[in-house]
């Protein structure tokens, strides 16, 4: 019998025709992000000079042969600092999203499967966390545990968990109401098997698209924390921190540091959001 693709098809078709699924803009966005990630990983190889080396004779320098993007207020090469800065700028939000997604998915699947008091308890806990603004929680964590990205990252991860949690719980409830779940359940499979084998794979597109959206928010929140001086500490380069240290330079006529760092943040968040949109389109076609 001929296998016919029916109109209801629309699940994410990974690997083959990925670029078609994402569209031109989605593919470009994905490519940009891959490049940025590679730059961050290979910074030690790619950077022209050491990002910490100061060149006191060339403070706030503009583009030159030895410093392609100029230098900051301490005479450090901006290209190098931006490259190395990519590490914390990309890694930290990624960690936030990874933790938030993991916790969010685990809790919400548990809640959706168990229903009853377990569901109520988890939902109320998520609601309580949801009520706290992420940034505030992060600042609180820094105040308690000291400056540095670690405390802020974990705090943000906790505050983002309800975002994913609520959406996944809704998706899981819908998935569990499907007849095929009843059919599998009637065989006697336990909850763990059903949620992992049958619910999770069907929620994957939803989770992916939500996680991508959160990445953008995390990046901005973390940049803000570094901007406030609570995150990455000197002399470690970080895009958010560079906006802070470059602020004074803007008024003095040396906008390079803040501008380039800011531009990279905007570029990354835009690409991530675009990618999230495209992945969401795929998920939405179901």
């Amino acid at each position: 019998m001929s296998a016919q693709t029916l109109p209801r098809a629309g699940r994410l078709h990974l690997r083959p025709r990925l670029h078609l699924a994402l569209g031109i803009d989605g593919t470009i966005a994905a490519a940009v992000l891959v490049v940025l990630a590679l730059v961050a990983i290979l910074a030690s190889v790619l950077a022209p000079v050491n990002p910490l080396t100061t060149d006191l004779l060339n403070l706030n320098g503009s583009t030159s042969a030895s410093h392609l993007l100029g230098t900051d207020s301490n005479g450090r090469d901006l290209v190098a600092r931006l490259m190395y800065g990519a590490r914390t700028a990309l890694m930290a939000p990624f960690l936030v999203v990874l933790l938030a997604t993991t916790f969010g998915v685990v809790f919400s699947l548990l809640a959706a499967w168990s229903r009853g008091w377990v569901d109520s308890l988890i939902s109320r806990l998520l609601d309580i966390v949801f009520a706290f603004p992420g940034l505030l929680l992060a600042i609180l964590a820094v105040a308690v545990f000291g400056k540095g990205l670690m405390a802020a990252t974990i705090a943000l991860a906790i505050s983002y968990t309800p975002y994913i949690g609520r959406i996944v719980r809704g998706g899981a409830l819908r998935a569990l109401a499907q007849p095929y779940i009843a059919a599998v359940r009637s065989n006697g499979f336990n909850g763990l098997h059903i949620t992992i084998r049958h619910v999770l794979p069907n929620l994957a597109p939803l989770v992916l698209s939500q996680a991508s959206v959160l990445f953008g928010y995390a990046m901005i929140d973390l940049a803000a924390i570094s901007f406030l001086g609570l995150g990455v500490q000197e002399p470690t380069p970080d895009w958010g921190a560079m906006i802070a240290s470059g602020t004074s330079g803007i008024l003095a006529g040396y906008p390079q540091e803040a501008l380039y760092a800011g531009a990279l943040i905007v570029l990354t968040v835009a690409c991530v959001n675009l990618l999230a949109d495209r992945i969401g389109d795929q998920a939405g076609m179901n």
């Binding site: 019998m1 029916l6 209801r8 098809a9 699940r11 007849p179 009843a182 059919a183 009637s186 006697g188």
Partner: protein, 282 residues
């Protein structure tokens, strides 16, 4: 006299309503249902919407616990909606095929894997034995071994229902509930599936419970039938008798409403009710 494979006695299902509505504080979905299913037999449960058919299916499958009454399968009491272990045992007794071919299969799971999952759960077989068992099932339901790697979305509605039937049969149950299983299919495909089910019954000796609103399907596929209306049993007996000489006016009305050659639609004796007719009526 052979022992019935399934005995339902005085099944009753009542749902408490969250707030007092027009109907009262509770909904009686099934009033008092008693029937036997002979081994290899086919029973039809007929009714329109609100009759209580889905509640009956839910109770028989263990998705819902009867408010009162008992269900015995092969002599063993199976009334309670049990724990995992008992559910596993019950799965070898009774399985179900749902109505909607679009949601009766996990859209992300390949056909072969879906069948393999069930077989692996119930039977300790080697990988090769399982594989050939899956391929055999596929052939049994009119598909082919090449469909092993297919995803549901690549299959037509009729093919998906065949897979759903195969999955139900994978556990080698004694009883199969067909809950409006052909209602969403084209007429020509419906006929193929009905014939398939008839063949399977002859070959495997499996017993059927057909839940349907379609009297033609019931006539073709069942030996005995129960007519239900708003939770009550209106008539019960051999299918041909119920349909050829219905004793209850409701059954007569039902029968007379089915389009067939020479039929003309008629306004029913009761005039269309007005504001008192609630959403559960259709």
């Amino acid at each position: 006299m052979t022992m019935p494979i399934l005995e339902a006695s005085h099944l009753r299902k009542v749902y408490p309503l969250a707030r007092r509505s027009r109907i009262g504080s509770e909904l009686v979905a099934v009033q008092d249902l008693t029937f036997d299913l002979a081994p290899g037999g086919a029973l039809g449960i007929v009714g329109e919407s609100g009759a209580g058919k889905s509640s009956v299916a839910a109770m028989l499958m263990g998705f819902e616990r009867p408010t009162s009454g008992a269900i015995r399968i092969k002599g063993k009491d199976r009334t309670a909606a049990a724990n995992s272990k008992e559910r596993k045992n019950r799965a070898r007794d009774i399985q179900i095929v749902f109505q909607d071919p679009n949601s009766s299969l996990d859209p992300r799971q390949r056909v072969g894997d879906a069948l393999d999952e069930v077989i692996r759960f119930h039977f300790p077989l080697s990988v090769e034995d399982r594989r050939s068992r899956v391929e055999q099932l596929l052939v049994d339901v009119g598909l082919s071994a090449t469909h092993y790697g297919a995803l549901p979305r690549a299959l037509s509605g009729g093919q998906r229902q065949r897979v759903a039937i195969a999955r139900a049969l994978a556990a080698e149950p004694s009883i199969l509930i067909l809950d409006e299983s052909v209602a969403a299919l084209d007429v020509s495909i419906q006929a193929q599936i009905l014939n398939l089910l008839a063949d399977l019954r002859t070959r495997l000796g499996i017993s059927y419970i057909f839940i349907s609103h379609d009297l033609g399907v019931i006539r073709y596929s069942t030996d005995t039938a129960i007519v239900m209306r708003r939770g009550e049993v209106v008539e019960q007996g051999p299918t041909w008798q119920i349909l050829d000489s219905p004793s209850h006016p409701y059954t007569q009305m039902l029968r007379n409403s089915v389009p067939r050659p020479g039929w003309k639609p008629r306004r029913l004796l009761r005039s269309a009710a007005g504001p008192n007719e609630g959403p559960s009526d259709d």
